[in-house]
């Protein structure tokens, strides 16, 4: 199962990819929405983990683009957010995000449950 992590933060890129690889997933990283879009067009992914606040194309913009793109719509998206971003979470869900996780209380088991639910 190939997961695309789109996050500009090097700390979280390394953290997520380590955890996901330990759990047996193949992981690809994109440092912003623009790079994420390129990877989605070229690659094959089962799931996208998307940060919202990023340079260039941010998470919201990418979700907007996804709404009109069949290839992207076929891939479920879990949005990462941080404490105090309730409005952002709501906005992301309205834009079609399938679920969200609090990146500051990241729990691999909780993510795995969500992944299984979406891909099973």
């Amino acid at each position: 199962m190939n997961i695309l992590v789109i996050d500009d933060d090097v700390f979280f890129q390394k953290f997520y990819s380590t955890k996901l690889r330990e759990a047996g997933y193949t992981v690809d990283i994109a440092a912003d929405g623009e790079e994420g879009l390129e990877k989605i067009q070229k690659g094959s992914y089962t799931l996208i983990l998307l940060d919202l606040v990023m340079p260039k194309v941010d998470g919201f913009e990418l979700l907007r683009m996804r709404q009109n793109n069949k290839r992207m719509l076929a891939i479920p998206v879990i949005v990462f957010s941080t404490l105090g971003q309730q409005e952002d979470k709501m906005k992301a869900i309205q834009l079609g995000a399938n679920d969200f996780m609090d990146k500051t209380f990241f729990n691999i088991n909780s993510l795995m449950e969500k992944v299984k639910k979406m891909t099973g």
Partner: protein
């Protein structure tokens, strides 16, 4: 929540980079008017620093940075002109955060930042700017 102790060194490295970048951007802001581009970059660094501190369990550290992040986000959204006195406050904040990070580096624990200190910063950044 996962055990984050394995990520201590990574946090110190990335947090230091965010703080250094914030310092450089504030120097730019002092030399010229604070442009939206610089403001946006500052917001991204503050946002990342806050998220990383929270993920590592440094709640007070995260809360202190959140005040700066919130101010930068509002300034950006409102197209606000950031006055010299506010830039000076932000510079002091970055200096303090650098000291807080040293505490985290040495002790691997949340720096002793009181809620009063966090509230005071929020008040300072909220107050009307000097002309």
């Amino acid at each position: 929540m996962d055990d984050m102790s394995n990520y201590h060194n990574l946090f110190i490295k990335t947090a230091s980079e965010h703080i250094n970048e914030l310092g450089v951007l504030l120097l730019k802001a002092k030399a010229t008017q604070l442009s939206n581009e610089v403001l946006s970059q500052m917001h991204l660094h503050a946002h990342s620093l806050k998220s990383e501190a929270q993920a590592m369990g440094y709640k007070q550290f995260g809360a202190y940075v959140t005040v700066m992040e919130k101010y930068l986000k509002e300034a950006l959204n409102d197209n606000r002109v950031v006055s010299t006195d506010k830039i000076n406050i932000l510079s002091s904040v970055v200096d303090e955060i650098r000291i807080f990070l040293q505490t985290v580096t040495d002790r691997k624990e949340d720096p002793p930042i009181t809620s009063d200190k966090i509230l005071l910063l929020a008040k300072q950044l909220d107050s009307p700017s000097e002309l």
